[in-house]
Every structure is written in structure tokens, then in C-alpha cells.
Amino acid sequence: MSGHERAPTPATTPATAAAAEAGTGFAGAPPALRLAGISKNFGGVDALVDVDFEVAPGEIHCLAGENGSGKSTLIKIVSGVYQPNPGGTIEFGGRRYEGLTPGAARRLGVQVIWQDLALFPHLSVAENIAFERNLGLWPRPSRRREMRRTARAMLGRLGFELDLDQPVQSLSIANRQVVAICRALVAEATIVFMDEPTASLTQSETRALLAVVRRLSEAGIAVVFVSHRLVELIEIAERITVLRDSRRVGVFEAGRITHHRLAELMTARALDTTVHARDRAGEEVSLEVRGLGRHGEYEDVSGRLHRGEVLGLTGLLGAGRTEFALSLFGMTRPDAGEIRLDGARLVLGSNRDAIAAGIAYVSEDRLTLGLVQAQSIADNVTVTVIERLRRLRWFIDAERKARTVGDWVRGLSIRIGTPEDPVTTLSGGNQQRVVLAKWLATTPRVLILDSPTVGVDVGARAAIFEIVRDLAERGMAILLISDEVPEVYHNADRILHMRGGRIVGEYRPGETSLETLEEAVYG
């Protein structure tokens, strides 16, 4: 959060020369991990090219880079999943290792906490933490008491207390993360990789997690932290290694870099941080809600969304933003108040009614709700308008379908192989555009975007907002929901702040500073 206060790094010192300097700060004890000249290619595609990477014992080191920049390949090489091309060196504690296997890496103290955590939802907290004690094929008693003792000790080291007998599936995501970290401690980790651990945490949970990371570091365990939230990276890290296009851009001291600079290094582009807000109050009102409420979710929400306006809706996770949006989209029914579209009262029995009325909703959880992952790009784009592509009543007009898909792929410059490829082959940013295309194909008048940049990297985010502004320019009314305040601040014309199910404030980016808004939302 404090990223803005830090002194900006001079723009003249990007590349590797400065990076090498930053690396010398930890000379002395042998590094916990040192990679030198690591390359890896899959067929003709370079995943990593001549990458150096060094982590000191107990250091918190961040790995920054866009999707596809080689972060996961690097983690997989260190954890023994992939073998690097011959020529590079991997050292742990000053000793060189070759032919690393997953088992060998674990024995050397490498632990990776993947985003999905790899826990066992029906097993108890204790068993999840100390599961290692169960491994092996030679039958022996599963020592439950000993496992509980271990689990309690590990939780204690992190300063947490959880019911050891509770099944993990009943825990919050934040607490599951704690369980996963404890498991790494049981394995006597000396270096822990965390792959986007904060992606689905709320602000306060994130703070708690960062505190845990600091504790690990104090205990001499090095932590390599991967995140898309740059402000967070700068807050937690001592040093940051930036990867771009499979190469290392450099190593930077976190205290001497801003998140704008970091974003530029990751994308090799100057980042647009202008405020785009315009005044649209003069336009016709497109969507209006009056005293809308739904028991236990949100209440007394009133407001207007004008044509061509980008209205930001921000607030912490659980503030009722998504619940409110779902009612606008007809997925749930409000029990008080009314919704008006272009001056006419709208009663929505289902989301089909909403689509028919011209409302589109791009859900927050793109991966599970927004896309049919295994199906082709073409099928995903046209799923909302399949009715309109019919020919002879029961058949799909293949030609019109292809034309529709082609139009949207070009219109949103989605980078695809062929329209028949499954959606899974696309990057996060391009998947998000497919979702957008799917909804834009319905020619909506109101577009609700719920956290459109979750899991989308910095460069692709800017592109998505360019599309959003362009749509607004053409008269679409857009409701932009996000818990990342800077994102809303830079892209919305007007911002509503929601807390505890109510609208508690309205801001105009031109008149309010980002700091004030952040203070109001996060404070």
C-alpha cells in the first residue's frame, strides 16, 4: 500500500547492470538457492533463457512477471519437476546439484505451495499438516497423537490456533493457506515458493498472510513469493526478480522501486496511470435502482448509471458487491426496491430475462463460471447468441457462427490459434477477452464487469480497460466492480463505495485523491 510513498527508481537504470549490484547486498553466507545460466525449452519454445536467480537464507524474495514470462517454469525446475537444459547450475546452500528430482528437491528443503494448495478436504487439519508422517508403503500405525502434536507445534510457530480435528474443507481459504504453510514447515522447508497465495484472499486476510511470511523469514526460511498484486510484492519483499519473455530483466531492491516502475519492467511499456474520468451526468439514465435490497446481502441501494458511463463499484470482499450485481442480472431476486432500465420498470425472473433486456454480466470467477473450459473458443463466444444463429429452426448456421466469432476475435484483438482450439490454450488476459466477447455478442446496453482483472497480468489489464473505455464511448453503460481501488480509480468516471451491503460513499476520481479513496475503502 505504501508503494506510492517510496522514492522512484531513476528511469535510467533498468537492465542487468543495476541488477547485479542489488544482488551483492547479501554476500557472505552462501545463498539458500542459486541458479545460474538456467535455460529451458519445450520443443521450439523457450520457457527460460539464461536465467540467474538467487535467494539468501531467510530472505523474502518476490518473483514478478506476466503470465508466460517463465515464473512457473522456474519454480518447477527448482522443485525438480522439470530438468533444465544442460549448462546451467543449481546450488542449494553453496552445493551444486544436478539431475534434481521432486523427491530430492523436497529433501533439500524445497517446498512449493501451489495456488490450489493440494490439501485433502475431508481429512482433518492435523492430518493435513502432518500427512508426511503417513507416507511410505511399509504398513505401520498411523500415529494420530504424534501428528496432532506436530500440527499444534507448527501452528504455534505461526501463531495460529485451529481446531485440529476439523476437516479442512470447513476452513476459510486463508486458514487453508495456513494449513498448507504448516505442512511445508513439517517438511523442514528451507525455501518455500508461494504461487499467488493472495489471489483469493481479502485485504485483512492478506495482511495476516504477509505477517506469516515474515515469521517464516525470521525463522530463517527463505520465501519466494509470486503475485500479480505489485503493491503487495513491494510491501513484503526484500528483493524482486523480474522476468519478462523468459529472460531475467533484473533484481531490484523492493525499497527502491515503485509499483509503476515494476509494471513497466514487467511489460516493457510505460504504464498509463492517467485518470480517465469524464462527467457523464448529462447523458440519459440507462439503469437506475431505487432502494434495492435483499435480506442478508445488501440493502437500500439506490443509484443511477448513465449511458456511456463507467461506474465503479468498490468495497472489500463480502461488502455485497457481487450479490447486488447478481440481482441486477436476474440471478437472485431482490426483496425490496426496484430496478429501472431506460425509465421502464424491470422485473427479472431469471438471467435470461436480464439478457433479453440487454444486461450482460461478466462474472468474477471466469474459470469456473464464465467459460466452458474444454470447449472451443468459437463455442464459448457464441454460446450466448446461439439462438440467433439458427437456420432451418434446428441447425446452427456455421457460416454466420464463423463470421460472428471472427468479428469478435478481431474486434477485441484476441490472440488465438484457431477458433476451434479449446479455451484452455489461451492466457488469462485472452480468456477474459473471450468472456467479454461472449457477452458483447448479445449487444447489451448495460455491461456489468465483476473483478475483470482477477488473475490477469499487468499488460493485459491495460488492454481490457482500453476495451471498456471504448465500449463506454460508444454509449454502453458499464458497472465496473473491483476490490482493487487503484483499478477503479483510474478507469471509472464515478465510484460508489459499498460496505456491509450499503452504499456508503460516492467519489469522483478527478476530485478525490487515490489515497483518500484507499483510506476510505481499506482503512
Binding site: S172, A174, E205, L346, G349
Partner: protein, 374 residues
Amino acid sequence: MAERGAERGPDPRGGGPRTREHGRGPAGRLRPRLPRLLRPASVEGWLVIVIVVIGASLGLATDTFLSLANLFDLLNISAINLIFAAGLLVVLVAGGIDISFAVGASVVQYLTALTILSLGGGSWVSGIALAMAFGFLLGALNATLIHYFRIISIVVTIATFNVFFGFLMFFTRGVSIYDLPDWWLDRVILFEYETASGDFAEITLPVAATVITVLATWVLLRRLNVGRQLFALGDNPEGARRIGVNVAAMHFIAYGWLGVCAGVAGLMQAHYVQEVVPNALYGRELDVLAAAVLGGARLGGGRGTILGVILGVLLIAITQNGLNLLGISPYAFQMLIGVVLLAAITTTNVSWEEVFGWVRRGRARASRVRVSRA
């Protein structure tokens, strides 16, 4: 079922909203609560209640059901299914399913009988050893196909079910074996009690075999490291692989264990009916599967208890026995098994919230609200 409700309940320690963990919308919100009395803590609790209720009604409706002879008979009849069910539980817990074990047991009966006869007699010791070995081999065949050829277990075992049964009928031409050695046929009565009416209430060898199998399975699943790895594999296969569980070995242990149990069950069944008939066990697989699922074993893995499975088998046996005593057609029982399977699957894989949420959404749709333009 009620247990599921508890799991989804709000988490006081959770620290933060849990909206991202479960689906949003009406289905996730609605939590109908059953009255406290009707909400035992577990599937096992439910089964005990249902068994007591059915038992009591049958006791009132017939004068034979609650007789000692009938109850012991029930136990003797259930023995084979209990052995099967214990084995099947291990496979279910590990995230698999097996359709082939019952006909597999028939194959084991034949192989054991032919081997024993060609060796000139044998004994219980050699018989059991052979049956277990043949059973393990059949299970290992399933495990090999599932693990090394990466075919899902239901497809593999439907195929091997057909292979085993076809093989059996083809090579035996449907002919039964009657001239089994004496040790195999002689009834072994472990406990006998003459009732006032002159009937004999007996506990026989299959019951002893059941007790041993059930205990061994309990120890495996609850008390041994290997069993915990089986649970982990069923719960999150990728997670298990990553933490270092030997997945191949787990598949061989699970299907091998079921194979061994099926072998023992086959031996006991031949002992019980005094002959080896090629299609005697055909169709048992679904009864046993229904019982296991009814007993709370989760299709998809990671959850299930031996007690639940025992209660499931007993409930089905009692129902069948009761229908018999009441003189109701056996087809009614078959129908019942199907309904039980459906009910169990819908209530274990889909939570009550989802079911009720769906009903509610359905009603909302039925009342057809349209977009009105004033």
C-alpha cells in the same frame, strides 16, 4: 446428510467471508434446517434409526422376524455381502469403483475348486490361500488397467465384469461343480442355540470370516499409514501425488484388497450353498454397491466408514428379509435397491441446499416472471 449441512455451516474461526469458496446465489444461501431430533450427527446415526424402525415394524407385522433363528439367519446370509462390502469400501475410499468383484469371486471359486481338485483335496488353509491369491490377481488386473492405461475405473471394471463372466460361462458351459472336497462342504458351526420352538440358531464359519475381514479392513483404513494414504488419494488425487503418495501402489493395494476379500467371499459362498455355480454371484455387485453408498461411502472417494457400510448391508438384508416374510415379490426388492442407489447418490453427492435451491429456482421459473415495460 445432516453431517453435510454441518460441514457447510458458517465457520466461526474462518476469519472473513467465505463467499468465494462456495457457489453464490440462492443455492448457496438457503440452508433448510431439519428439526433437531431428526438430525443425527452422521450417516451411521441415520442408519441405526432406520434399522430400528424397520426392525420394530417387521417385528410387529410378522411373528418370525424378531426370532433368534431369523436374526442369526440374517447374519449368516449377510456374511458374504459384508465381506464384499468391506473390500469395496477400500476401493471407494481411494476414489475408485469396481463392478467386477462379484463375478470375479465366481471366477475365483472355479479356479480354486479346479486347483484344489487337481492337487487332490487340500484344506481350509490351502483353500483360503489360493482364493486370496486368485482374488488378488484379478484385482491387480483391474489396477493395472486403471493405473497404467489410465482408463477410469468404472469403464475398466464394467469391461472386466463382462470378461470374467463371459469367460466363466464359456469355459464351464454353465456347469456347476458339486464334488467339492469334504472340508469345503462340511458345515462349521461356531455357536449353536436351540430355541424353545426347536429351531436351531447358528453362527457359522462365514460369520467368523466376516468378522476377521471387517476388523482387518478397519485397521487398514483407520489405523495404518497406508489406509490414510488411500483416503488422501480419494480426496485429492493430484494433491496426494504431489506430497509423495505412491499412487500406483495405492491402486494395487485398493483393488488387490477388494480382490482378496472377493476371493474369501467366494470361498464362503460356495461353502454356504455347498456347490460352485457359475452365475451364483452375478448381480451381487449392485446390491453391495448400493449398501456401501447407503452406508455413507462417497462415490468419488475420500470418505466412508466401515461401520456405515456394515449398517448399509444390514439395512438392505433386513429389508429383503422383511419383504420375504411379508410375502412381497422379489422384484419389489430389486426396485427398492435402485431407488436406494438413486436416493443415496443424490443426497451424498448433492447437498440438501442444492436440492432445495433447485426446487425453489424451479418454482420461481414456473411462476414465469417476464420483463414488463411500463
